[in-house]
Symmetry: D2
Subunit: 132 residues, 4 copies
């Protein structure tokens, strides 16, 4: 399953070159992953209330083109790996047909004291199964 | 050559878990690379004035431990590859003896219209030569 | 004239209390003002291309209630003063019927070297006239 | 008592004009206030551990001059009002002898459920008494 999130870049996200700063993309990707989880049968904010969260343990991101303020972006997110504690997502950012950035993000499941825990069984759902 | 930068994490850089947000580390790494360049014979702000800049084209970062507000961090930066247009840095973030995060960052050289250009000859200096 | 902008708060905009950080509201307000200008006959990005910009010289903001992630906000922006170089906006942020924050923001007009200049005559339009 | 904090502006804090973005100053001011509290006999992080915090309820800030990246700033913070629940600070940001920005910030004391509470008696100390 591919989840799609849309957003528009904002002036204050641009750096002194006039382009969206590279660190801001990590915010966009986090936003898209949480939108993805919030659209699942057990939404993310429900998990957070129960003390379950996710923390980024690894990101690889390639930046292809520079984007200015006021541009409309589309982020596609899909699960490509799911283990006991970790999930890996591939996330692609598009502006129209153009690929802006591509990333692989590894999330680990934690409890409210920050300890690694098993991903809860409620997330054993087809939407999060890696594509074959 | 290994360049060292130090900084202290700040309250507003922490997210709702109370830890420095993963995107903030990209800011820290950029800060450390620019400090590195500014300590060279031809400092970065001098290059910028001549229309030469660097843009991140790829980052891979591993997060090892969570860090709260007010912690003292040390960032070590070294060149590990230098081509015509691109440079790759390895950057390690430490809190005391503990490794907090580790990254490889690829920078491409651009002119003031955002076009890729050759790294200027003033940067053919021992400090930026990859370690053997 | 009252201009209305809508946005949804995002996880990475929240601080360690789990609420949107106070500095983020200044970003929201800037976003709303630029949306306002971009909806005018001479949009903001067109002015920027001609070297005309606006810089904040004063902000007073009252925060009424705390807001978490994923909340839908509405920002109302109106001109309340317009002089040769400066404009003052009143901006109100609502979540449903509740007032979240209220601000007065003074913008000064600058050229591309950062010098104060007269607001260009193209902005002598009813939409920016202060309410009587 | 005037508390002084120093910091250096960073590249990623600058916007597309090449100057420190106006919202970033609110971060700087927060940083300076927390440094102030952390230098008191009962430091801020100790209060936070006991569930006591402070939330900004009002800020008025005047921006005097634009500041670029890599500039050394000095922030002076003093209490100018102290009530049961609220404290007002005056904060001045300098670059060398030049005044960069000046602000009045009202903080309200809250418990860990976000309810307003009396400022704890441990903060009845000379350092926080308003100047006559």
């Amino acid at each position: 399953m591919i989840h799609t999130t849309e957003l528009t870049t904002r002036s204050y996200e641009c750096d002194s070159y006039g382009h969206v700063n590279n660190a801001i993309y990590l915010n966009y990707l986090e936003y898209a992953r949480i939108q993805f989880l919030d659209d699942l049968p057990v939404p993310y904010h429900e998990l957070r209330r129960r003390g379950i969260g996710f923390v980024v343990v690894r990101i690889c991101i390639d930046y292809r083109i520079q984007v200015g303020s006021g541009e409309h972006l589309r982020i596609e997110t899909r699960s490509i790996q799911k283990q006991k504690v970790r999930m890996v997502f591939r996330q692609s950012v598009y502006m129209g047909d153009e690929l802006v950035a591509e990333a692989e993000v590894t999330w680990a499941c934690i409890n409210d004291r920050g300890k690694l825990i098993r991903i809860p069984p409620e997330l054993d759902i087809p939407e999060l199964e890696p594509e074959p």
